[in-house]
């Protein structure tokens, strides 16, 4: 009787209390067997944060986590000066299971170093140096800051913790003090101990009364130009740096460039009556847009002269001025600033435009998610205007600001592509169309569901399939399509417009955006495979991943 009771209890507990699983593994440096010290995080794929487990990978890179509840887990590893790594796939652990020899490959981060000097060769301190990633939006390159450092008293900087990949580097001092009207403004950069980034404003009259210090740069209206690697103030001629895993790139010396700030003065004009227009807003954007590298000047609207404006402290370069009055009138203007003030600039606000059109070719009723876009060529704050194609194939794009556009299509099934686009008798496919008023003709778009297709298998130099590899299809330094390989190293593309292309698989893990940069494409295109497509044709190719 007792034996039966004991057996029952054993069975009961063996069912009620699962035995903890065990996970044992190691961290190794990419491409080597070198152990990596670090920390491990095991999180449940369907659990809360508090179900997580942690462990330490010791000097031999070894880690062990015991007594793990059964379930599906993700495993992350962090190491000082390594990119955070995730173990390839979710780990399913059953009760009592012992999973050993889990190897997590750790990619070492890279470093970019250099110095910032003035023209006399003196080191400059506290200069902001940024690692920038390019992205393309509406055909225009913009920069996003992904790493930042400041120079020390020797003018040296060290950008560290960078994932291997392509970077642009910019150097720019924080905005110096400036004078606006009767106000002395001292910009306050962000810092760990500060309440926030902003500016301190002081009465110029009060400063002058006591003879207090006024920064010479404010008196002279001096501003600094951002300098891009390899030493250019023109972002268009900035060159990318290819930073390999665990390496240090010496970007050399940057010579800071200071100049007098340029002012732009002008009027906002109503196109409808030719009169100056009060109450409109103005926004100034650099071209290309550069997040975190340039702070833009404020725009002063003259209260005594409605419609007049002044933008002070601009550095030489390309800008886009966007002006708007409610939902009725708007204008976007390109502005080239050199070394002299610009006077009497008229920004003419025109009524917003409506563009109507029709989609033709095949069964358009099935293309309910398809949108036709007008992509502004100036960028700025302008976002593409678009309209959904109706069941009868018609579309109406509203609130279009007068300017230059390209026609684009989005949301169509992958196999479809735009074959022709005409505005009246003008071919506007792959061309810039200027819209200054309501078009007299409809926009006629002919599409085809018979795009070409491409099947690719990507292998490494030992002929092993490469999963998660990026495949790039480009034509004449212009990105056509991207795809990512599946676990078997295969990728598929469709809806390819007939023509000649190059296809390649870069070894780095850059995001899709960077491949819209012609300079970046140029670094790889000559290593790509030439390929030609006909309407509805299919190509099968094998690619070897390009090693950096």
């Amino acid at each position: 009787m007792n034996a039966i009771l004991l057996l029952s209890l054993v069975l009961l507990f063996s069912q009620a209390a699962p035995v903890g699983a065990l996970l044992e593994g190691s961290l190794v440096k990419l491409g080597t067997r070198e152990p990596v010290r670090g920390r491990i995080l095991l999180t449940k794929t369907d659990g809360s944060l508090n179900d997580s487990r942690t462990a330490v990978a010791d000097d031999n890179g070894k880690f062990v986590i015991g007594n793990i509840l059964p379930g599906n887990y993700r495993l992350f590893a962090d190491g000082e000066n390594y990119v955070r790594a995730e173990y390839g796939s979710a780990i399913a652990l059953a009760s009592g299971q012992e999973m050993r020899n889990v190897v997590v490959t750790m990619t070492p981060t890279g470093v970019i170093v250099g110095r910032v000097l003035n023209r006399s060769g003196d080191p400059l301190t506290n200069i902001y140096v940024r690692a920038l990633k390019p992205a393309y939006r509406q055909g225009e390159r913009s920069f996003t800051s992904v790493g930042q450092a400041q120079t020390n008293d020797l003018g040296e900087f060290r950008l560290y913790g960078l994932r291997p990949g392509l970077y642009f580097v910019s150097v720019a001092p924080y905005d110096p003090p400036r004078i606006e009207g009767q106000t002395y403004i001292v910009p306050t950069p962000p810092c760990l101990d500060c309440r926030g980034e902003g500016q301190a404003e002081m009465s110029l009259v009060r400063l002058l009364a006591t003879g207090d210090f006024i920064d010479p740069r404010a008196v002279e209206g001096a501003v600094s130009l951002p300098v891009y690697f390899p030493g250019t103030t023109d972002p268009a001629t900035a060159r990318p740096i290819v930073l390999e895993a665990g390496t240090m790139f010496n970007a050399g010396d940057f010579i800071a460039v200071a100049t007098r700030g340029v002012a732009v003065r002008g009027r906002i004009i109503n196109y409808l009556n030719g009169q100056m227009l009060a109450g409109a807003s103005i926004q100034v954007d650099t071209r290309p847009r550069a997040s975190g590298s340039v702070s833009l000047r404020s725009v002063r609207l003259d209260p005594n002269n409605p419609g007049a404006f002044e933008i002070a402290g601009l550095v030489p370069g390309s800008y886009i001025l966007t002006s708007r009055l409610g939902d009725d009138l708007a204008a976007t203007t390109a502005l080239e600033v050199r070394d002299r003030d610009i006077e009497n600039l008229d920004i003419v606000l025109r009524p917003l435009i409506k563009v109507t059109g029709r989609l033709a070719g095949g069964n358009v009723a099935g293309l309910t998610q398809t949108r036709i876009l007008l992509q502004p060529q100036l960028g700025g704050i302008m976002t593409p205007q678009s309209a959904v194609v109706q069941l009868d194939g018609t579309f109406t794009i509203s609130s279009v600001v007068a300017g230059d556009y390209r026609i684009a299509m989005a949301g169509a099934p992958k196999s479809w592509y735009m074959k022709t686009a005409r505005l009246g008798t003008t071919d506007v496919l792959d061309r810039v169309v200027r819209l200054e008023g309501e078009p007299k003709s409809h926009l006629e778009v002919l599409i085809s569901g018979n795009g070409a297709t491409l099947d690719v298998i990507v292998r490494d130099d030992q002929q092993r399939p490469v999963p998660q590899a990026m495949v790039i299809l480009a034509a004449a330094k212009s990105l056509a399509l991207t795809a990512t390989t599946d676990p078997s190293g295969r990728a598929h593309m469709e809806g390819i417009v007939p023509g000649a292309y190059k296809v390649f698989a870069p070894g780095n893990r850059e995001g899709e955006g960077i491949w819209q940069d012609p300079d970046v494409l140029g670094l790889y295109e000559n290593r790509g495979l030439e390929i030609r497509f006909t309407e509805g044709g299919n190509q099968n190719v094998e690619l070897t991943v390009i090693s950096e």
């Binding site: 060290r158 004078i179 006024i214 010479p216």
Partner: protein, 562 residues
């Protein structure tokens, strides 16, 4: 017709104009400072009167065509403190330049103070470099003899564990290291501290639901640690009282200031707060756990439905305080606790209303209705010593009476502010306690009045300060320090800076023995620190005062390296 303006212009060109010529040199040397940027501002002038020039390779500058007036001249250059002409110490103002018309001012010398560098590495216990550690250069500041360390400059370690704090004016610095705050968990919310910038809306943190953070794969394993980093002070102590300062000389680079990091396990302090007036769980209450001693690190949180849970507390002596947030109802509770290696549960804090302290302020020889008394109506301030929360400041009434309301229990230091400079505090008695020599201790509703007596007949000291060349020294700090038995009487200390003639007047001096000192550059009020004044004791000039006595003395300035 056009000849008249041309003749006039030629005449004006030949009118002699005032100008300033001079050199910029490195402090204490004749070495020129090349490429220094100078800004000359005119007192009561216009922006167009402000002139900017740059020194040549020989450090010389020339500013021509000046209108007559009073000017101030500033020099800037990388590696130097911004220096005003005539400026003695890093935090002093300079000398006004008076320009007559026409006058050529020559041989004007601006001595720029070079900045120094403190550099080193931060490593963990195994000698591995640690990045993103915030290393600070701290300066001691004193308030009534209490030292606290204020951050002057900071740097973060790089991937090699290296740091370099630069742009430091010469002086005494402490150095501390503490890793930048990492992500943390608040319940099931993943909180990542951020540096506030315009780009992130000047937010100090981002908050992500825990499940989202897991899904995004962004969770830092460190959030599950029940450990916290402790501040490590040079030469490697977590005890702020044993931190050792370094004397950074002008333009020096002090390298090899290597530091480690220290961790400590933490516990949670949990309990409840009861409103002692209503007997109900208290709402709108901030609970704080304040470490006792110089560092006074603290953690605080709000009580929800009367319950509180303060995580991340390290071992040590603390005071737990609770205070209502409401402006109308000021209730308060406090409790000393000792924290070891275990959580503290079920603390019970009973909020009580504050007390009312009444007092009388008397000026010897003046009736309350006297005009001089009305002018001299000062503020009575009670500064918390062991007590938590803000201090109290009340103005003495025209009849000499004052009342401090909602006074929390605790110990307070008395300060009298906005009092005429010639007055001094003669006595301050609460019950039988002389509050000038100890603290005002309040633990229950006071039953006696607080009586403060001041004298309008304080002593006066006129001092002439001479530099090493026996010339009058301008911009020098002069301090009158009470004799040894009264060094804790912070109301007795007097200080001021010499004028252009090297003279200074100190007033409102209470009778007794003192020593007078004159320093060219010293941290404010550091002479209240016994360990620092001890270094200079032998350089002090003894001086004694009787009631209302006037004394004149000559002091020799104490230099930077003395």
């Amino acid at each position: 017709m056009k000849t008249i303006p041309i003749v006039l212009a030629l005449f004006l060109l030949q009118v002699p104009q005032a100008s300033i010529k001079g050199r910029v040199v490195r402090l204490g040397t004749d070495s020129p400072v090349a490429r220094a940027r100078l800004a000359l501002t005119r007192i009561q002038g216009q922006l167009t009167d402000t002139r900017t020039v740059t020194t040549g390779e020989n450090g010389e500058f020339s500013i021509p065509n000046l209108a007559r007036g009073q000017y101030r001249l500033f020099a800037e250059r990388e590696g130097y403190v911004r220096t005003e002409y005539g400026q003695r110490g890093a935090s002093r103002t300079g000398t006004v330049i008076t320009v007559a018309d026409p006058q050529e001012i020559r041989y004007l010398v601006v001595s720029m103070i070079p900045t120094g560098v403190i550099a080193g590495r931060v490593r963990d216990a195994n000698g591995h470099p640690i990045r993103n550690v915030v290393v600070r250069a701290l300066k001691a500041v004193y308030r009534e003899g209490q030292r606290s360390l204020n951050s002057q400059q900071m740097a973060e370690t790089n991937d090699l564990g290296e740091y370099r704090i630069f742009g430091l004016p010469p002086g005494l610095y402490f150095v501390s290291a503490l890793p930048r705050p990492g992500p943390r968990l608040e319940g099931d919310v993943y909180v990542v501290p951020t540096i506030p910038t315009r780009a992130n809306g000047n937010r100090r943190e981002t908050r992500t639901p825990g499940t989202d953070a897991v899904a995004a794969g962004i969770v830092d394993p460190g959030v599950f640690d029940r450990e916290t980093f402790l501040t490590v002070y040079y030469p490697g102590t977590t005890d702020i009282t044993t931190a050792v300062p370094m004397n950074l000389q002008p333009g020096a680079t002090v390298s090899g200031i290597d530091l480690g990091i220290a961790r400590s396990s933490t516990v949670n302090i949990r309990g409840r707060v009861i409103n002692g007036v209503t007997g109900q769980p208290a709402e709108n209450v901030v609970v704080s756990v304040i470490q006792q001693g110089e560092g006074r690190n603290g953690r605080s949180g709000q009580a929800a439905l009367g319950w509180f849970d303060i995580p991340g507390v390290t071992a040590g002596s603390y005071e737990v305080t609770a205070q209502t947030i409401s402006a109308t109802e000021r209730l308060f509770a406090r409790m000393p606790i000792e924290v070891s290696d275990r959580d503290i549960e079920n603390l019970s804090l009973i909020l009580q209303p504050g007390f009312t302290l009444t007092g009388r302020f008397t000026v010897e020889g003046l009736s309350a209705g006297n005009n001089n008394f009305k002018i001299g109506r000062p503020f009575v301030q009670l500064e918390p010593g062991t007590a938590f929360g803000g201090g109290y400041s009340v103005r003495v009434g025209s009849d000499g009476a004052f009342t401090v309301s909602n006074l929390n229990p605790g110990d307070y230091r008395l300060r009298i502010v906005a009092m005429p400079q010639t007055w001094y505090i003669k006595s301050a008695v609460f019950g039988t306690t002389n509050v000038l020599e100890t603290r005002l201790h309040v633990e229950a509703e006071p039953r006696t009045s607080f009586n403060i007596v001041v004298s309008a007949n304080g002593g006066v000291l006129d001092a002439l300060v001479l530099d090493a060349e026996r010339q009058p020294a301008q911009g020098v700090t002069v301090a009158l320090v009470p004799g040894l038995p009264r060094r804790d009487r912070y109301d007795l200390y007097k200080t001021s800076a010499t004028d252009a003639s090297g003279r200074v007047r100190l007033q409102g001096i209470a009778p007794g023995e003192y020593k007078a000192f004159a320093w060219v550059d010293i941290d404010a009020d550091s002479w209240q620190d016994s360990s620092i004044i001890r270094l200079y004791e032998h350089r002090g000039e003894p001086v004694q005062f009787d009631e209302g006595e006037r004394r004149s003395i000559t002091l020799n300035v104490i230099g930077r390296s003395q």
